[in-house]
Amino acid sequence: MVISLHDVVVRLGDVDALRGATLDVDARTVAVIGENGSGKSTFARLLAGLVPAASGTVRVLGLDPARDVTELRRRVAVIFSNPDAQIVMPTVAEDVAFSLRPQRGHRKEDRDAAAARVAAALARFGLTDLAERPAHDLSGGQKQLLSLAGAFVREPELVIADEPTAYLDARNARLVSDHLLADSGHRLVLATHDLALARRCDVAVLFADGQVRAVGDPAEVVAEYEALLTC
C-alpha cells in the first residue's frame, strides 16, 4: 500500500485539520480534491512529514513519516504551490543542484555524477538555456518548472504536489501537470482544485471537514464533489 491512514487526527493550533481520516490507496497517480479547509493540504503535508499526527497511524511507502524522516526525505519529493518559497540558491542550475547536497559525497566522481543529474533535470524541464539565470528573475511558470527539476533530480519514488498549478496561467499549468502525470517511474499524490486535472489521475480522494468522504474512480469522485457544491 502506497498510502495508508487509520483514524488520523492532525491538530493545527486549536483546530482539528484532519478528524479521524482513514484511507488506503495504492495507485500511480492520486488526486486529492475538496474545498478550502477540507484537509487536502494538511493531508499532503502529513504524508511529507511536515506536520505530525496527533493520533492514528500513517504509512507512506511503508514508512512512518514521524519516525523514518531521513528515509522519507530520500524517497519522497514535495512540490508546493508558491514556487518563490522553494528557491534557495541564486541561479537555476545551483538551485537544482541544491537538492542533491544532502546526499552528495565530496569525491570528484560524486560531484561529476551530481552535475550530470542536474544537467539531465534541466534538459528534461526545458531549463538548460536558463541554467545561469538568477532563479528569482524567472517567470512564475519557469519557477514552478524549476521546482519540478529540483524535486525530480533526486529521482523520488513518490512526488507530493500541493496545488502546484495554483499560481500559473493555463499554458504553464498544462505543462506542469503533464510533467507531473508523465510516467517516469514515480508515483504522484496531487492536491488540486483543478477538477479536469483530477480526472486525469488513476484514483481520486475527496476530503470534506477533515475526513475522507470518497475514494475511487476520478470521474465518480469528481461528480460527487460537484454534487456537493450545488447543494
Binding site: 503535508r45 511529507a48 512529514g49 511536515l50 524522516v69 531521513t70 526525505r73 530520500r74 519529493a77 514535495v78 508546493f80 508558491n82 518563490d84 518559497a85 522553494q86 528557491i87 534557495v88 540558491m89 541564486p90 541561479t91 545551483e94 543542484a97 541544491f98 537538492s99 547536497r101 544532502p102 546526499q103 545561469e132 538568477p134 528569482h136 529540483g150 533526486r154
Partner: protein
C-alpha cells in the same frame, strides 16, 4: 540570492574558492590597514585594478567601473562625512582606500559561484564541530539569509502596492504589520521547502 557571479575562465575564476577567499581577505585587510597617505591610496587603487585584471582581463575593467558606479552613493556619503571632520586630502585618500577594499571584496562574488563559496565555508568552518556547531548549517544559514533578501524586497513592494490600491496612507504601522505577516508566512513556507529537500 543577490548573486553577482559572472561566468568566466580567468585565473581568479579557476582558483579554488577557499584559497581565493583567503587571498582576497588578506588583500582587503592590507588595503584597509595602509596609512592615510597619497602613495597608500595609489597602491590601493593599483591593487584593485590588477586584481580585476586577473579576474577577466581588460573587459573586467568595465565591470570594475560598473561596480564603482553602483557604490556611488556610499562613496559620496563617506566622502562628505570625512570632508566635514578631516578635511579634503585625508577624506579623498581614505575614501579611495575603503572603496578599493569594498571593490576587492566584490571580486570574490563576481568570480565565485555561491555553491563553491558554500562548500568552502563548510570546509573553513569545520573546526566549529569541536564546539558542537554544524558548519553545514552555518553555511546554509548564510546562504538562505542572502537568498531571502530579494523576496523581502518583493514583499515590501507588494505591501506598498496593496496599500496604494486601497488608498491607504503610507505609515509605519500600516506597512509593518502586513509586511511582518507576509515575511513570517514566507519563512514558514521556506522552512517546509528546505525540510522537503532533505535539509534538517
Amino acid at each position: 540570492m543577490l548573486s553577482l557571479y559572472r561566468a568566466g575562465d580567468s585565473p581568479l575564476h579557476r582558483m579554488p574558492a577557499g584559497p581565493k577567499l583567503v587571498l582576497l581577505v588578506v588583500l582587503v585587510l592590507a588595503v584597509s590597514l595602509l596609512p592615510t597617505a597619497p602613495w597608500a591610496a595609489g597602491v590601493s587603487v593599483a591593487v584593485c585594478v590588477v586584481a580585476y585584471l586577473f579576474g577577466g582581463g581588460m573587459p573586467q575593467l568595465a565591470v570594475l567601473a560598473q561596480q564603482f558606479w553602483a557604490l556611488k552613493w556610499v562613496v559620496a556619503f563617506m566622502l562628505v562625512g570625512q570632508l566635514i571632520f578631516l578635511g579634503p586630502v585625508p577624506a579623498v585618500l581614505n575614501t579611495m582606500r575603503v572603496t578599493a577594499a569594498v571593490l576587492l571584496a566584490t571580486l570574490l562574488a563576481l568570480t565565485t559561484r555561491v555553491t563553491a563559496l558554500l562548500d568552502a565555508l563548510e570546509r573553513g568552518l569545520a573546526p566549529l564541530r569541536f564546539v558542537r556547531i554544524d558548519p553545514a548549517r552555518v553555511a546554509l544559514m548564510l546562504t538562505v539569509t542572502l537568498s531571502t533578501l530579494p523576496v523581502m524586497g518583493r514583499i515590501a513592494h507588494d505591501v506598498r502596492e496593496a496599500q496604494r490600491a486601497r488608498g491607504a496612507r503610507a505609515g509605519v504601522r500600516t506597512f509593518a504589520v502586513p509586511y511582518l505577516v507576509m515575511a513570517l508566512k514566507h519563512a514558514d513556507e521556506l522552512g517546509d521547502a528546505l525540510a522537503a529537500r532533505g535539509v534538517r
